[in-house]
Structure formats: C-alpha cells, structure tokens
C-alpha cells in the first residue's frame, strides 16, 4: 500500500522466502536480517527513515526493535504491533505508538455481533 502510494519503502525480514508474497510490482528495497541488531538497522538506513513500522510475529521483538528505532536511531514516527493487549497498554503508556490486532479484532467482532439483531430484524 505504502509503495503504491509512492513512498520509499524498505522491508527487512529474517527469512528471504518472506519476500515471495510481495506483489510483483513492489518497487522498494528488500533486506534479509535481524531487526533487533543495531548494525543491521543502521545498515539499512533506519537512521534516515521518517517512519518505522515493526510487525514481526514476536511481541517482544517488535517492542525491542521499535524502542531501538525511536530511542537509538531517533526515527520520528514509530508504530509497533503488539498482540498481547496488556503488554500493548503498558508500552503505550510508556510512550510507544502501539496497535494490538487482538484488541482491534475483538472490538470489530463485538461490533458485528451487536449489529446483528438489527439487520436480522430488518431482514424479517
């Protein structure tokens, strides 16, 4: 999405296979490496980035990478995915911009549930 919008996007992943799922017209850079290794982050230019988004499957890895981007590399906008809602709340309080897909998903589901009687009513 960001690439199609014309942003300059760089993707970092531990697994080279992960890039296979990128659309063929993806124009950004791809790097293989560990996102919590300061040398790797520095090599791919995190220091010059305007924004840093971290969405690995590991909450703790995301938390560490996000804090490194923010506090070591001084990236102005850092967004971090944390599945565990409790950890998400804590790091949000500590000043990270965080999103918990668990929480967002749960509230979407709840909304859908709460909408249902109305639509069923109108369908009858």
């Amino acid at each position: 999405m960001l690439d199609r919008e014309g942003q300059e996007v760089t993707i970092l992943d531990l697994d080279p296979d992960a890039f296979r799922r990128l659309p063929t017209d993806f124009g950004g850079q791809r790097h293989v490496g560990n996102g919590i290794d300061q040398e790797v982050l520095s090599r791919i230019g995190v220091g010059e980035a305007d924004a840093f988004v971290v969405v690995t499957q590991g909450d703790n890895r995301n938390v560490m990478a996000a804090q490194m981007a923010k506090h070591i590399f001084g990236v102005p906008r850092v967004v971090c995915r944390i599945y565990d809602p409790i950890r998400e709340e804590l790091y949000h309080k500590l000043g990270l911009e965080t999103i918990s897909p668990t929480k967002v998903g749960a509230s979407l589901l709840k909304e859908a549930l709460e909408r249902e009687p109305a639509s069923r009513g109108s369908g009858d």
Binding site: I36, D59, V63, H71, R87, L94
Partner: protein, 233 residues
C-alpha cells in the same frame, strides 16, 4: 530476598540452584513444560510453567513483591521485555538482564535496564585478564556516575609490592575495596594492609582514572628485575 528468574535453561537452572543454596526465596519461570518440571523435580517446588513476559503469569509469580528479577532466557528481546515490564508494571526494584549480543548493553541502558550480564563480554574480559599487557579488568560500571569497579592484578615486580595501601598514591576518587591474595582469600584492607605480588586488587575509580589506577599498581619497581612476569599456578 525474593528473586524471580525468568528462563529455566542451563543458566537459569544453575543460577536458581545457587540462589536457593544462598538461602533466597527463588522462583523460576520457564515456557517449556519439560524444563519447568525438571527444575521442580531437582530443585523443589520453585518453578512455574509460563511466559515470563505475560502479565497473568507475572502476577501469579508474585512480581509485585519481588526484590529482584533476573531475566536469563536465550533471547535478548525477551529478557528486555521481562525486565521492562517488571520495572514499569510491578515496580520491581532491581532487574538484571542477560544479553547475548554484547552490543546490546548500551541499548538496554538507554531503554532503562542498567544491569546487564553478557557471557560474551565476560569471556572477552577473561581473555584480557590473561593478557599481561592489560592487567585491569572493568568489573562493573556504576550507572550514571562515571564510576566503575575494576580489578587489577599486581605483578610480582611492581613498585607497590611490599608497600602499605595507605602509602600508595592513587588517582583522585579512587579507593581500594578488596585485596585478594594468591590463595584467593579476599580481605577488606585497612591502612596497614601490605600489597603483595600476585594480589588482585579490587578498586572503585572514575572511568577516566582507570589508566592511572592501573599504572599505580602495575608499574615496575625502578630497581626490579625487568620484564619477567612470573606465571602463577
């Protein structure tokens, strides 16, 4: 003290064992149920099966009353988060993290975890300790203050051999805390303590005075037999 150890691998296991022997109340949190059971079988009922970064497990473990948390899993990021959550959510007074990548020491410090232990760094320090040209080993940097605790091995031909601690000219803001003799017997020095060749001196000093402190204890005596650094052991 109530000490919680996060991670029940080899490091966690032996750490918990030692801490129990020292009389501390210890709890080990381990993700792997087999490892958690093994600890319970061998060390008694001191293990909890769970994720040491998950709030519900942490509450069950009693992080709220812990005096110290030591995170020693094999993953630096898990150790970081366990320590940060322990401090921020449960107000644990002391949190110590094991790090695998020695470069993470600085990063952890910037992220609020001042005490880190790195096996890699310790091995490097040990190597430096064995190299005669670098007899000073920084043991611990004290947070913020620019002070550190260092260890200096006194060569047998050093000028200070046979002198009283009180008569040795130390750099500013330095104090000798401990003298460990060749037999490994540590003594807290008084003014009359005499330094012997082969002693290990543990001192507190300012980081910038490290070199001055080292030369104070290692400079060869003017008339001393030159160069022959007797190997002990």
């Amino acid at each position: 003290m109530y000490i919680i150890v996060v991670g029940g691998g080899k490091v966690g296991y032996y750490l918990a064992k030692e801490l129990v022997e020292e009389g501390h109340e210890v709890l080990v949190i381990e993700k792997d149920s087999t490892k958690a059971e093994r600890i319970a079988e061998e060390l008694g009922d001191i293990s909890l099966w769970g994720d040491g970064c998950e709030a519900s497990t942490m509450e069950m473990a009693g992080f709220g009353r812990a005096d110290m948390v030591i995170a020693v899993t094999g993953d630096d990021e898990d150790n970081l988060v366990a320590c940060q959550v322990a401090k921020a959510k449960f107000n644990v007074p002391r949190a110590v993290a094991r790090i695998n990548n020695p470069k993470n020491e600085e990063i952890f410090k910037k992220l609020g975890i001042d005490t880190t232990v790195s096996a890699t760094a310790a091995i490097l320090a040990q190597i430096e300790q064995e190299i005669p040209t670098h007899p000073l080993v920084p043991l611990l940097r004290l947070k913020g203050g620019g002070l550190e605790i260092v260890e200096v091995k006194v060569p047998v031909n050093a000028a200070v051999v046979g002198r009283r601690i009180d008569d040795i000219l130390l750099p500013p803001q330095s104090i000798v805390a401990l003298v460990i003799d060749k037999e490994g017997e540590p003594r807290v020095p008084n003014t009359d303590t005499v330094v012997q060749g082969g002693d290990e001196v543990v001192a507190v000093t300012r980081t910038e005075n490290e070199d001055a402190l080292r030369s104070a204890f290692t400079s060869a005596a003017a008339s001393g037999s030159k160069g022959s650094k007797d190997k002990k052991r």
